[in-house]
Amino acid sequence: MELKGRVWKYGSDVDTDAIIPARYLNTSDPAELASHCMEDADPAFPSGFKTGDIFVAGKNFGCGSSREHAPIAIKAAGVSCVIARTFARIFYRNAFNIGLPIFESPEAAEDIREGDEVMVDVDRGVINNITTGKTYRFAPVPPFMQQIIAAGGLINYVAKKIEAGRGN
């Protein structure tokens, strides 16, 4: 799988209140959440964003609340993936569970600039900055996470497990 898009660059400790403010948590509708994604933190985002664009951020992306509405908003907005130096723990789990691709690469997070064209080759584990020609590797996805992805997300994984249990 290849993901390609223009970069929106953010700093460190982007919290879930910045990604989707709590005043919008009275809904779980992905399209509605997407329409408010990053609106306080980056007023340019809602109007300037193109489907497939990529977030690149510093350390501890997605810190704060456990709201799954944060990765849902990013995914539903059409962001193809998030590259960061590190991710906060709950955001990391949530992103995998709902199928938002995320990649840890300190070098890429440091180097890549706002507006760069970037392509991620998920299978080969390579991030290619088309604008500068530089390439980076990202940390491999842990095997258990790969199982979740292969099953089509945590819910499908659990459904299969329960179905298998019924057969016993």
Binding site: D17, L25, N26, N60, S65, R67
Partner: protein
Amino acid sequence: MPMTITEKILAAHTGREKVEPGELINARVDLVLGNDITAPVAINEFEKIGAPGVFDRERVAMVPDHFVPNKDIKSAEQAKQMREFSRKHNLVNYFEVGVSGIEHCLLPEQGLVGPGDLIIGADSHTCTYGALGAFSTGVGSTDLAAAMALGETWLKVPESLKFVFNGELKPWVGGKDLILYVIGDIGVDGALYQAMEFAGTAIEKLSMDGRFSMCNMAVEAGGKNGIIAPDEITRAYVEGRCKRPFKFYQSDPDAGYARVYHYDASLIEPQVAFPHLPENSRPVSEAGQVEIDQSVIGSCTNGRIEDLREAAKVLKDRKVHKNVRLIIFPGTQEIYLQALREGLIEILIKAGAAVSTPTCGPCLGGHMGILAKGERCIATTNRNFVGRMGHPESEVYLSNPAVAAASAILGRIAGPWEVL
């Protein structure tokens, strides 16, 4: 093989003799938790699984607390979805408005979490229950859905960090100050993916309410869980209260830690965390002249009876500054009643405080205390991110209840010694 308390609890819930940091395990859960923001998403995902029902109707707790009493029609719909799900599955631990409260104050109070338990909740402050010597951690809604179906969850065994506080605490210093101090020291990702174990003579003397405040904010340092070894203070709290059998675990003396931090607790002053991260903590005495528009006392961090006692001690026979709104929200109905019985509510109202029904509302900028553009608030809550309590150009300062009360009186950030 020596283990930490966190490792022992995880091993026990995996049916194993031992586990090691970095291992992925499937662990049995003693209780799972959802609230009116996270449960609706979890319920939708749960329905997709096609499970015959929840794994155990006594072990799925549903606590409407964030946007209740319902703040608008959409919130009412979310609360309704949660209520109907709870009825359909005959959940024993659904808490309606009127008997409910802020989840992390409520569940320990109701005896639903105990020492040695393994608990996951779709709320980041689920780490609070480590104060009782349990392993508890926050997850998202999809993880909650899976655990509701299976009664188990996957976890990576975390490395442990140990924070040792020795020495006598100064007056007006409590669990909130200790945890703000730690976060100031190690940063908001200083314990990323790791267990935070608190120990030392100052912790041994710390009350249960102080311990809850500390473990509550482990997530603000990126921690997976906060934990304190259970002792006689824990026993006094859980005996006669805990509805399930509990077990005390202790870390082995030679257990392995990724790092051990030592602090002289006698040197720590009441802390204030400046905008816009909890790591921006400094002593109140170094806060300078910071005028405030609002003071908020309550939340899952500091909404317990001791917190209200501390606030009342400062506010008794004094008046809130004319430029300040003081909003106080007890954590549960039981705490509210206890405060009434002790005469605290009368003291607070006479001082000019608005006392609210239990809700998470103001803490996350939901309702009941939203900030306008340019306004400043001191709060005993847990996060001071940009826009956390309202307008993106408002500011939140975090402190303990005595500091928030003194600041409400003086109209600027102040220590309690400035008014007493």
